[in-house]
Symmetry: D2
Subunit: 300 residues, 4 copies
C-alpha cells in the first residue's frame, strides 16, 4: 500500500488589518498570514476521518481573534503567538509554521486634523516565517520585490568561453535586480531574550541596500556575497542569509544604424529585458553554522 | 463586403531606460512606451499590401533612437517628440497616440562615492498619453495603483433599501482604494507655452492625496469628487479629471463568538477583501468644458 | 465650481457559480459579474447624500439571488435579467451595464457513477456586456486570451522603410497572437426575437479560428480583417466586430555562431518574446452600420 | 569571515519554441527552460573572479542550439541532454538542474490545406525537473494550474472543535482545487532503460483526474492521498508523488433574506472565494522509499 509521507495543512493568505488608535493618531499593521500545521494526521489521509483535524476555518478565526487579543507588535511576534497556540492547545499538532507577508504604509501629509490617512509604500514585501515544534523556535525573516539598480560600477569579464559563448565582455554595465532574501535568527529558545524584530528588519534592509550600492561589482555573485556578509558582520542575531537575485538585464541598444553613438560614458539608452534573466542564488553563513534555509526561494 | 472601421497599430510596451550622467551623479528615466498609429491603412487590411505600413519594429527603433537624440525630459515631452515625428514624417499616418508608463526610482543613501545607486520607489505608476493629428495636441496624464486608506472619518448610510438590501449602515468604517486617475490638459497648440509636466504631476498627486485625507467621507463618490475638484481648482492647466476607484472593502471581523468586542473606537481588526469590490467611476470638469477621457479606465 | 461629468458605479467581480442538477448529471455555469449603474447621482458626488444610491452590496446580492431565481441560461440572458431589473425597479437609475466573464469547464471522463466532476477548460475567457437604458439594448459579446499560432503561411515585406528601419523582410514566419475580440449584436429591442446566445458564441469562435488558420497572411492586419469579415459574412445577428491582436513575436534564433543552420524549411527554433509586441487593432463592420465598440480593448 | 553556503546560478526562463515539419504537417514543442548550475564557485562570490563561470548567456545559447541539434523529444529528454552537457563539458560544474515548463497546443480544425495551425490548449502547465551530478539522475515531473471540481460527493464533518471553531458541518459541498503536483521517477542510471516520458505524463494526468472524480470525499486530504496512491499503484516508474492542493472554497450563498431556498439538492448558487483558502500538502510514497521532493511547491 502506498505510504503517507510529509504533510501539512492550514489556511493560507488570511488578510488581516489591525488599526491601533492613539487618540486621533492611528497606526496600521497590514498582514497576509498563512498557517501550516502538521502532526498526527495519518487517518485523515487514509480514511477521511477528521477526528484529529482542527479545521482550516478555525485557524483563520484564530488569526483574527489573536490580532484583537494580543495586537500585532511585529509580524514575527504575532507568528510566535499563533504557532505556540496551535502546538500547545491541540495534542495532535506537533509543528506549526506561520508565514506572513507584511505591506508597509506611510502617512499622507496634510493640513487636516488627525493622523489616520495612509498611502501604501509599495516597495518591498516584508516576510516572516515562524516554525515551532513544541521545543525550539526557528524564525526566518526576509523580503521580496525590492528592485535596485547601479547605473555604473559593474563589470563582467574573464569568464569561461566555450563553443556556445558569444557574450562580449562588459566594462561598464547596469546591474539591477529584484532582491528576494531570507535571514535566519539564532534565537531558538523561549529562555533567551528575543531580538527586536522591527529594529532588526530595518537594519538588515539598510545593510543590504548599502552593500549593494557600495560594492564595485565584477559579478552579481560577488555583490550577493557582499550583501549577505554585511548582514552577518553587523547583526549578531542572524546566522544565515540567503538571496535569490535575478539579473535584470539592461541591454545597451545598438544605435549605430541610426548614426548615433550610445556610449555609457555619455549617458546611454538601455532596453530593460523581461526574459530570460540570469538567476543567482546563494547562502551566506556565520562561520561554523549550518545552512537551513531551503535552496529555492522561487519556483524557477 | 464587410467594411473596415476604426483601426490603429504600433509597437506596444517598449521598455526604455535612459541614464543621464552629471559626473558621478546619475539620473534615471524608466519608461514603458506604446505607439499607436492610424491613417491610410485600408489596403493592408483588405489585401495585405504593406505599402503604407511603417513596421512596428521601426516604431520601436524610433523610441530608442529618440531617447538618445532628445533625451527624456518628461514622459509627456518625450511622447510629443515621438507623436510629431510619426505624423509629420510619414504621409499615410494621420494620427499618432503615444502611451507611456513611468516607474519612479529614489536614491539609495550610502557612504560610498558617487550617486548612481537607486531603489525603485514602487508606489504608483505614472501615466501619460499624447495624441497628435497634425494640428492639435491632446495630453492626458495620470497614475494607477496608488493605494490609500483612511482608517476613520468615513460613513455610509441613508441609502436606498430594496428587497435585496441587507447591508447595515456604517458610522465609522475604513475607506481604502487603489487610485486610478487621468487628467486632461488644456494645452492643445504648439503656439501656447506647454505646462511644466514634471511640476504639474507632482502637484496633482499632492492635491489628490490631500483631498483624500482631508475629506470626511459620506460616500466614496463624495471623496472622488473632492479629489477631482481640488485638482481643477488648483491647477489651471487641467480641464478634466477622471477617476476609477475600487472600494477596497475592509470588513470588521465578527469576534463575538470568541467573547471579544471588535469596536472601531478601540482599534479594530479588519478582513481585507479581494473580490467583489465596489467600483466608483466619475469625471470632474472645469465648468464649460467637455468630457473627453473615455469612461472605462479598467476592463471590468 | 467644478462640474460632475459622466459617472457610473456598482459592484465589480461577483464570482458566481451555479450548479444545475439533472439527477446525477450536473451542469455548471461559472461567471464573474460586474455591475455598473448610472443615472440621477449628482448629490452623492456633491454632498455625499446617498438618497438615490442603491448600495453596491445590494447589486451583489441581486446577482446571487437572480442566479437562483432565474438560473443562468447564458451569460447574455443573465445580464439582460439583471440590467432590466436595475433600470426598471429604481427610478434614479437610467442605465445599467452588466459585464460578465465566463469560464468554461469540461467533464472528467471516469468509470464512477454520476457526472458531476469537471476540469476547467482553461482556454479563452468568454465575455459579455449588456447595456440597457430603459428603451434599447446593446449586447456585445467577446472573448480574450485565446492564443493561436500558424507555424508557416505568414510573410511580411514590401513595407515603408525610413531611416529607423532595420527589419529584414520575412517570407516564412510564425504568426501568433492572443485573440481579444468583441462583437456587437443587432438585437436591440425586446420585441425582436433574441439570438441563440450559446450557439452564436460557438459559431463565432469557430469562424474566427478557421479564418485565422485558412488565411495565407501578408500582414496581421490582413488576418484580422479576414477573421472579422468571416464573422460578418456568416452571422447575420452581428453587425460589428473589433479585434485587438498582439503580434506575439517568435524570432528565428541565429545559430550560425554555433555552426548550425536554422532554416524554417527544416523545422526551426524560435525565441518566443514577451515585450515589446506589435499591437494591431481594428473594427470590421457590416456595410452601412456604425462602429460603436470602444477603440481600446486593452489599456496599452 | 562569513562563509559561502549552497549556491547555484544560470539563465532562467528561456522561452524556446521548436517546430518540426513533416511535409505540410507541423508539430510544436513550446517550453520555458531554466538552467541552474553549481560546483566550484567560491571565488566568484568572494572576489568576483569569473574564471570558473560559464556565463548565463552561454547557457541560454546552449538551450537554443540543443533544440536544433537534438530536437525536443520530450521536456525530460531535452533536460537530460542539457544537464549532461553542462556537467561533463565544464570541469568546475558538478551539478546541473534543468527546470522546464511546457505549454500544450492543439490543432485548429479547418478545411484549408496543411496542418500548421494551432490553438493553445490553455489547461495545466506541464513541469519537468532534471538534476544530474555526474553519476545519478533525478527526474521529477509534474503539473500546475489544473483546476478541477466535484459538484457533489464531498462532505466535511467530525472535526476537532475548539473555542475558535464556528464552521458548520457540511454533508454536500463543492470540492474544487488547482492541482499542483510533482512525481519522482525511480530511473536514476543511464544503464537502465528510461521511461517513456510522454506516455507516463499522459497516464499520470489521467489517473489523478479519475481518482479525483471517483473518490467520495470526507476531506481534501483523503482525496489527495487517493490521487497519489492511484499513481503509485498504476505507474511502476514512479516512487513518490507530492501534491499541493488549495481548497478553493465555494460558499453556499445565504438567500433566505430574499425568500429563496438555496439547497444543494435543487442545484445551488455558490460564491467562489479567492482568499483565504485551505492549503493541503502531502507526499505519497511507494512503500520502502524515501521522500525527496521538497515540502513547499508554493511560497505560501
Amino acid at each position: 500500500m502506498p505510504i503517507l509521507g510529509p504533510n501539512q495543512y492550514g489556511k493560507a493568505e488570511n488578510r488581516v488589518v489591525k488599526i491601533t488608535r492613539d487618540g486621533a493618531t492611528h497606526h496600521i499593521k497590514d498582514l497576509n498570514v498563512s498557517v501550516s500545521l502538521s502532526g498526527d494526521m495519518d487517518e485523515v489521509h487514509y480514511s477521511g476521518s477528521n477526528a484529529t483535524v482542527l479545521p482550516t476555518d478555525t485557524t483563520k478565526n484564530t488569526v483574527y481573534a489573536f490580532a484583537k487579543e494580543y495586537g500585532i507588535e511585529s509580524a514575527e511576534q504575532f507568528g510566535i503567538h499563533l504557532a505556540r497556540h496551535f502546538v500547545t492547545s491541540q495534542e495532535p499538532i506537533r509543528t506549526a509554521r506561520i508565514r506572513i507577508e507584511e505591506y508597509a504604509w506611510e502617512r499622507i501629509e496634510h493640513s487636516g486634523e488627525g493622523a489616520h490617512s495612509f498611502v501604501r509604500k509599495g516597495q518591498e514585501t516584508r516576510l516572516a516565517q515562524i516554525t515551532y515544534d513544541g521545543s525550539a523556535w526557528e524564525v526566518v525573516s526576509g523580503l521580496k520585490d525590492l528592485t535596485v539598480m547601479n547605473s555604473t560600477d559593474s563589470e563582467f569579464w574573464g569568464y569561461v568561453k566555450d563553443k556556445y559563448t558569444t557574450l562580449p565582455e562588459a566594462y561598464d554595465r547596469i546591474l539591477a535586480t529584484d532582491v528576494s532574501g531570507r535571514w535566519r535568527f539564532n534565537w531558538t529558545d523561549d529562555g533567551q531574550e528575543a531580538p527586536d524584530w522591527e529594529l532588526s528588519y530595518a537594519e538588515v534592509k539598510g545593510h543590504l541596500l548599502r552593500a549593494f550600492a557600495e560594492t564595485y561589482s565584477l559579478s552579481l555573485q560577488q555583490t550577493l556575497y557582499a550583501m549577505g556578509a554585511r548582514i552577518i558582520d553587523h547583526r549578531d542575531e542572524i546566522d544565515e542569509v540567503r538571496f535569490s537575485l535575478p539579473n535584470k538585464h539592461h541591454f545597451l541598444v545598438d544605435l549605430k544604424p541610426f548614426g548615433l553613438k550610445n556610449d555609457t560614458a555619455d549617458g546611454a539608452v538601455y532596453l530593460a529585458a523581461d526574459r530570460p534573466y540570469g538567476l543567482i542564488e546563494a547562502t551566506v553563513l556565520r562561520d561554523g553554522r549550518e545552512a537551513k534555509i531551503p535552496a529555492d526561494l522561487t519556483n524557477l
